[in-house]
């Protein structure tokens, strides 16, 4: 099948969505399809320009393909008779972010027209699609709530599962992913006071130098700097995998995350239990307390107790880790299964 994967791009911005785009094209090819990727330049400011962005998408004419897989607003508005959406997110400033005052669309008559135009354009794109998948239950719920369209959840799988083979636990708890206030690595540093003897490794790129500095200062203030390793940089995948494979457990505490999170999947792929928080959103779709990890309130004492408990019983931690890998397999979170569903 000749498949075109379509998304948007903001020059020099590269994150999870861009990774997913690249790996989707790659894995389509691995599964024997002719696949190409195309990304439309996109900018959301000023809000008035969003209409032109949609218009550009609607104006694009495709030829020479069988299936179009579109990922993001407004790329999913490009017309094609055999179109499947895998919506990572809509233009959230016209939906849930608007409701909480986080939108660039002004609350004026013109702003309301722009809003209506976006919603009409979305409805048009959803209506003409053969199937709609989303990356997470929350995305599906929003689409149902705001647009009235049903969709199925198709979680993005790990891009390089072969790296996360698992291994002997070396006694540290690992916190991966971007470092910022929303990911709450600071809670883990504070929790160490309540987990005597437990070692913590924080490995990931800080969003800003201030984020890195704040974490270093906190470790000193808490008097746990001798038990914390702060490896604050973009960690190459092989290094990261080595750290995960040697961890006792992975701690991942985002606030109200949409998806499972790559950190969760990497941990489970390596058969490591995940420590998370009761308000971590999509992570809770797969992490079960005392089954494949720990789910505790976002309090240092509670987190510390959870960390200490796992550190004290490595065999139990290993059992939970294996249960995590089973949960991943049950979800079918692998590229062959995902590609199969997208080209079906």
């Amino acid at each position: 099948m000749r498949v075109l994967v379509l998304s948007t791009m903001v020059p020099f911005v590269h994150g999870g969505a861009e990774e997913l785009f690249d790996h989707l094209v790659l894995n389509l090819r691995r599964q024997g399809h002719d696949a190409e990727g195309m990304r439309l330049p996109f900018t959301w400011d000023p809000a008035e320009g969003l209409i032109e962005e949609m218009l550009i998408a609607r104006q694009i004419r495709l030829t020479n393909i069988d299936r179009l897989i579109a990922l993001k607003f407004p790329a999913y508005m490009v017309p094609w008779h055999d179109k499947v959406l895998w919506v990572l997110h809509q233009y959230r400033q016209a939906y849930d972010l608007l409701d909480v005052g986080g939108s660039n669309i002004p609350d004026t008559p013109r702003g309301r027209q722009i809003l209506a135009a976006i919603r009409a354009g979305d409805a048009q794109a959803f209506r003409e699609s053969k199937r709609i998948h989303t990356n997470a239950p929350i995305t599906s719920r929003r689409m149902k709530q705001y647009n009235g369209f049903d969709s199925s959840v198709l979680r993005p799988p790990l891009n390089d599962p072969e790296l996360f083979t698992g291994g002997e636990a070396e006694g540290y708890i690992l916190a991966t992913g971007r470092v910022n206030a929303g990911k709450r690595q600071s809670l883990l540093v504070r929790a160490l006071r309540h987990a005597p003897g437990v070692r913590l490794v924080v490995a990931g790129p800080p969003d800003t130098p201030a984020d890195a500095e704040a974490l270093r200062r906190l470790a000193v203030e808490e008097g746990v700097e001798d038990r914390v390793t702060l490896d604050l940089r973009f960690v190459p995948r092989t290094d990261l995998a080595r750290m995960v494979n040697g961890a006792l457990a992975v701690a991942y505490l985002p606030y109200d995350e949409d998806s499972l999170g790559y950190c969760t999947m990497e941990a489970f792929q390596a058969a490591k239990p995940v420590i998370t928080s009761t308000d971590s959103g999509g992570v809770l779709d797969i992490v079960r307390d005392r089954d494949n990890g720990r789910v505790v309130p976002p309090e240092p004492a509670e987190l510390g107790a959870a960390m200490a408990g796992l550190a004290a019983d490595a065999a139990r931690a290993a059992r939970m880790g294996r249960a995590g890998r089973d949960a991943m397999e049950a979800e079918g979170l692998d590229w062959p299964t995902t590609v199969e569903r997208l080209v079906a």
């Binding site: 400011d45 008035e48 320009g49 209409i51 218009l55 027209q113 135009a117």
Partner: protein
């Protein structure tokens, strides 16, 4: 100029003056190398009237699909007159991409009313005028029809179709500005062309005088004023009669006959509808022709051109398209004093036959030059060429507007105007490029 593939949409029967115009124009355009296909727009029983001769194919317009028309022709020249029976099939086929509307009338409320009636959408009678002319054009609960003069002033409905055309033709200057304001494309003012060859010469002066009215006799033609003029003059009464060459309702015949009797005037003659051949016969002893109208609802009048072409002194209303004729070629009557002016003019014709004949000859020269098919084609073809040349850009604009309409944004939305401006700027016209810049810039100033 390269040959154009022209779809000429309009009535094509012997009863319609617009069809007569069409026949002459189709022949003229074909003689210049253009491919002319006639698409008949009559509806109901009128679609079955025998067709006029044509230089190319003749089809009922409904027999051709939109796509066929779009691909087969460069331009659709749509004849728009105020008669649903003759023009009904055209209404849903006017395309903003390729239609040049030839507006034979400045008032098309009858056409609109017919459309509303036959499409079964009575609500349009109030919503469309209010949308076009504002709420004051039609109060809540007000019936659509009122006096003709008031209708012409408050809701002539010209804009209903003008705004859907890619270009437009007015036959007189008095309504050209309205067309230009409503039509998004170019508008030309071209005097109507009409030719009837072999008209009988002006008869020799005699002690009796015949005044003819040509065409459908309705109260708008002010024939009662002509009868009053004859009756009011001692020299005309008993020596002058009115001949109505054309169809007339029984009530109108009775009204005019009763008036003549009351004023001691010879009863008017009614010929009923006549063929071109009969028309020539009926004109053989006619000394003058009346073309009065009040109010003036038409864009131009074929009958006044015919009258001028016949070389006979012609009474016209000094208003609307009639006021645009050269003053030394017609006998102008003030709208508020028609009978008085008509009386004075007819007395002058009676008393000064040589001067009246000279005036008729001047009128004839105007008819044969200003109102010839040749002159009309010279003015029409550049407009058709311009509309054809701009068609790809217009198609792009329509497509963008349609996409934006899918987002719920109408034709007046700033985004639609910006999209149109971007398309306009894809050319060499510096004025349009500058205009596009002005329209598009404010929204993006922050990112400039």
């Amino acid at each position: 100029m390269r040959p154009l593939r022209i779809a000429w949409a309009g009535p094509w029967n012997d009863r319609s003056a617009i069809a007569a115009f069409g026949e002459g124009m189709a022949a003229e355009l074909a003689a210049r190398g253009h491919e002319v296909t006639v698409l008949r727009t009559e509806v109901g029983e009128f679609a079955d009237l025998p067709p006029r001769p044509a230089p190319g194919e003749v089809h009922p317009m409904d027999a051709l699909g939109d796509n066929t028309i779009e691909y087969r022709f460069d331009v659709l020249v749509a004849q728009i007159g105020d008669n649903y029976n003759f023009h009904g099939a055209l209404l849903r086929r006017i395309s903003p991409m390729m239609t040049v509307g030839v507006f034979h009338d400045a008032f098309i409320a009858n056409l609109f009313h017919g459309h509303v009636h036959w499409s079964g959408q009575p609500e349009l009678l109030s919503t469309v005028p209010r949308e076009l002319y504002g709420p004051e054009s039609m109060a809540e609960g007000e019936p659509f029809w009122t006096g003709m003069e008031e209708m012409a002033r408050r809701r002539p409905m010209l804009e209903w179709l003008a705004r859907r055309c890619a270009g437009a033709v007015a036959h007189a200057g008095h309504y050209a500005p309205r067309l230009a304001a409503a039509c998004p494309g170019p508008v030309a003012t071209i005097p109507l062309a009409f030719e009837v060859p072999d008209l009988p010469p002006l008869p020799r002066p005699w002690n009796r005088m015949t005044v003819a009215a040509i065409g459908y006799a309705n109260p708008n033609r002010q024939l009662d004023q002509v009868i009053t003029a004859i009756g009011a003059s001692g020299t005309l009464r008993g020596h002058c009669r009115l001949r109505v060459i054309g169809a007339a309702e029984e009530a109108e015949r009775a009204r005019l006959t009763a008036l003549a009797e009351l004023l001691g005037v010879a009863p008017p003659e009614f010929t009923g509808w006549v063929s071109d051949e009969d028309l020539r016969w009926q004109l053989r002893d006619v000394d003058a022709i009346t073309c009065l109208r009040n109010p003036v609802l038409e864009g131009a009048s074929a009958s006044v051109i015919l009258a001028l072409a016949s070389g006979r002194p012609t009474l016209v209303t000094n208003h609307g398209c009639y006021a645009e004729l050269p003053g030394d070629t017609v006998l102008a009557c003030r709208p508020e004093a028609e009978a008085l002016d008509a009386m004075r003019h007819l007395e002058w014709v009676q008393a000064n036959p040589a001067e009246a004949a000279a005036l008729g000859a001047r009128g004839q020269a105007v008819a044969l030059t200003r109102h010839s098919f040749h002159t009309y084609a010279d003015a029409l073809l550049p407009l058709l060429e311009e509309v054809t040349r701009d068609r790809p850009r217009r198609e792009a604009r329509v497509r963008l507007a349609s996409l934006l309409e899918g987002f719920g944004l109408g034709p007046d939305d700033p985004a639609t105007r910006r999209a149109g401006a971007v398309v306009d700027a894809m050319g060499l016209d510096p004025a349009k490029v500058e205009q596009a810049r002005r329209i598009a810039a404010p929204a993006f100033r922050e990112t400039a």
